[in-house]
């Protein structure tokens, strides 16, 4: 059999989960276009949309209208942050680089700028973002508001690189927030879209750089035994544990001055069916059979290495859509939490093919950050194909995250409310109080946000 690359395995894993036909939803021809998120798992029928072209339009809108509103970026959140029967405020037109400081390596960008649209223009300015998430189609505002992060024990979430931001409050006021008020800045960065609408952001970058990426497969326990050392000795280090397997796909990224290029040891297989067959997915195998077959498949995965500009290495294109749950837990219990999840999937024969994702993120000071505090956190993600019902799987795994003190990613599926969250985030009550001050009428709240913040 042919060897596999990590990317080919991930793609085939997703497609295997999608063996059933794509399940279309309801009619597309409602009077006003329904809104749906990236995965299709969240939707709403808004009363209308405000496609704002300027900050002035936004302030005027908020001062002169009533009723619920929700800002929307690129719709990449799996949690119901956006759905409303009020109006959606689209910030796409607030995009692009507004100002740059070549000496300080900073840029001010429109909040609706998509992360993936920043890489090339920043490179032309001699700058690069210090870190990026795995998917880069989010808007800057959305990524920051949800505490979105990349990988790296020394690299905090994207919000930590926000030097200042401009917030239009629910009553149409304009607040320029920077380091002169540290508390306000730490509250406003990861704002979950509950404090108002961010219109521009000043990002701290660094000089443009290249990265060398190495991908391979290895026994999960071998990696976990040395995870702290591996995470500390590489700029980015993470694993994608295979379910029903003793193996993980490993991703290691470091800065380099080497020339750009890619080395594939052997060609990727072209026949997905052969991969599915090797996994035994069409044979309704027992967990033990799946483990044996998955291990055999993992053993065929050959290392690959490549060098490219940082923004091309850090983010990937997703060819299949899915829903995701992600929690952070203290790094010292991360491996044990991961083991319990993998063991549960195996012992209970949960029907899932998607890999998990396990990595470290540096601590930061933003009130609602998953890594708020003094120590790095381990983040663990589980996924389910967009066409499948994610709830049974996620409902079974979520209590395991809670057992280890897990904090949810705001943009991903979770079921916590303020009752639990106040114990997980030391400054949660402060955030709730600030939100009440800025939006006493609760104009920015939908049902989900009300459960999160409106005690």
């Amino acid at each position: 059999m042919k060897p596999l690359s990590r990317r080919a395995f991930l793609a085939s894993s997703v497609r295997a989960a999608l063996f059933g036909a794509y399940a279309a939803g309801g009619s597309a021809f409602a009077q006003s276009t329904a809104w749906r998120n990236w995965s299709g798992g969240q939707s709403c029928q808004p009363a209308g949309r405000y496609d704002i072209a300027s900050e002035g339009e936004l302030t005027s809108l908020l001062r002169n209208t009533l009723g619920p509103i929700r800002p929307v970026g690129s719709g990449h959140s799996f949690s119901p942050l956006v759905p409303t029967d009020g109006h959606l405020v689209v910030i796409d037109q607030l995009s692009g680089i507004l100002d740059s400081d070549s000496e300080a390596k900073q840029v001010t960008v429109g909040a609706g700028t998509r992360l993936g649209d920043l890489g090339a223009p920043l490179h032309e300015l001699g700058q690069g973002m210090i870190n990026l998430p795995d998917i880069d189609r989010q808007t800057v505002a959305g990524a920051i508001a949800t505490g979105t992060h990349g990988t790296g024990v020394t690299l905090p979430a994207l919000s930590a690189y926000v030097n200042s931001l401009r917030l239009v409050t629910p009553n149409g006021g304009v607040m320029d927030i920077d380091g002169s008020d540290q508390d306000l800045l730490h509250a406003a960065r990861v704002n979950v879209g509950a404090l108002g609408i961010v219109t521009q952001v000043t990002l701290q970058n660094r000089e443009a750089y290249k990265l060398r990426k190495r991908e391979w497969a290895a026994p999960t326990e071998d990696i976990l035994a040395n995870f702290d050392e591996l995470a500390a000795s590489h700029r980015h280090f993470e694993i994608f544990p295979l379910v029903y397997s003793d193996y993980s796909l490993v991703l290691q990224i470091d800065e380099t001055d080497e020339p750009i290029g890619e080395v594939e040891l052997e060609a990727e297989p072209s026949d997905d069916a052969s991969i599915a067959e090797s996994l035994g997915l069409s044979e309704n195998p027992t967990p033990a059979e799946r483990r044996r077959q998955s291990n055999a498949t993992a053993a065929r995965i050959q290392p690959t290495e490549s060098v490219d500009l940082s923004y091309k290495v850090l983010s990937n294109i997703r060819n299949s859509r899915f829903n995701e749950m992600e929690y952070s837990v203290p790094a010292e219990v991360g491996a044990e939490c991961l083991r319990e999840i993998l063991r549960t999937i195996y012992d209970e024969a949960i029907d899932v093919n998607f890999v998990l994702e396990y990595r470290y993120v540096s601590a930061d000071d933003d009130w609602l950050s998953m890594s708020y505090g003094e120590h790095p956190h381990a983040t663990i993600s589980i996924h389910r194909a967009a066409s499948a019902d994610y709830r049974p799987y996620f409902d079974r795994i979520e209590p395991i995250f809670w057992k280890y003190g897990g904090r949810p990613h705001w943009g991903k599926v979770h079921s916590l409310t303020h009752r639990e969250l106040v114990d997980l985030y030391p400054r949660f009550r402060d955030f709730m109080e600030l939100r009440r001050e800025l939006d006493p009428q609760g104009r920015m709240l939908n049902e989900h946000l009300r459960a999160l913040f409106d005690a």
Partner: protein, 120 residues
């Protein structure tokens, strides 16, 4: 991934390549007017450039490329409403609404016309 600036520069080039395309093979659908009656104005083009262009210029993730009339004709054989439904509901790797959160149905209709060259 190509830079956005390069992508946007490519738009006029692809527009020049658009050729006339007969819709004689299409099955008439009751309800909404046919796509070719849709109008493309600066507002719609702005929305297209900020969202759809991300994938439909480069063909990223298997997206049919703007101006590839043969591919668009093939896809439109399933009916205009079906193509529109794919945009709204999402299809394969394209998310619902194709990343255009500001778009209404009339916008999508105009964008499909533009990309398929039906208005030439």
């Amino acid at each position: 991934m190509n830079s956005p600036s390069l992508r946007l520069l490519s738009v006029p080039l692809f527009a020049l390549l658009l050729v006339s395309c007969s819709n004689s093979g299409f099955v008439a659908q009751p309800g909404p007017p046919p796509f070719r009656s849709a109008t493309i104005d600066q507002d719609v083009m702005g929305k297209w450039s900020r969202s759809c262009a991300l994938c439909h210029i480069s063909g990223e993730a298997g997206a049919p490329v703007v101006g590839d009339t043969a591919e668009w004709r093939r896809r439109l054989q399933q009916g205009e409403d079906a193509v529109l439904a794919n945009v709204v509901e999402g299809f394969n790797s394209m998310p619902p609404l194709g990343y255009c959160m500001a778009c209404e149905l009339s916008d999508f209709r105009a964008m499909i016309v533009y990309m398929a060259g039906l208005n030439q």
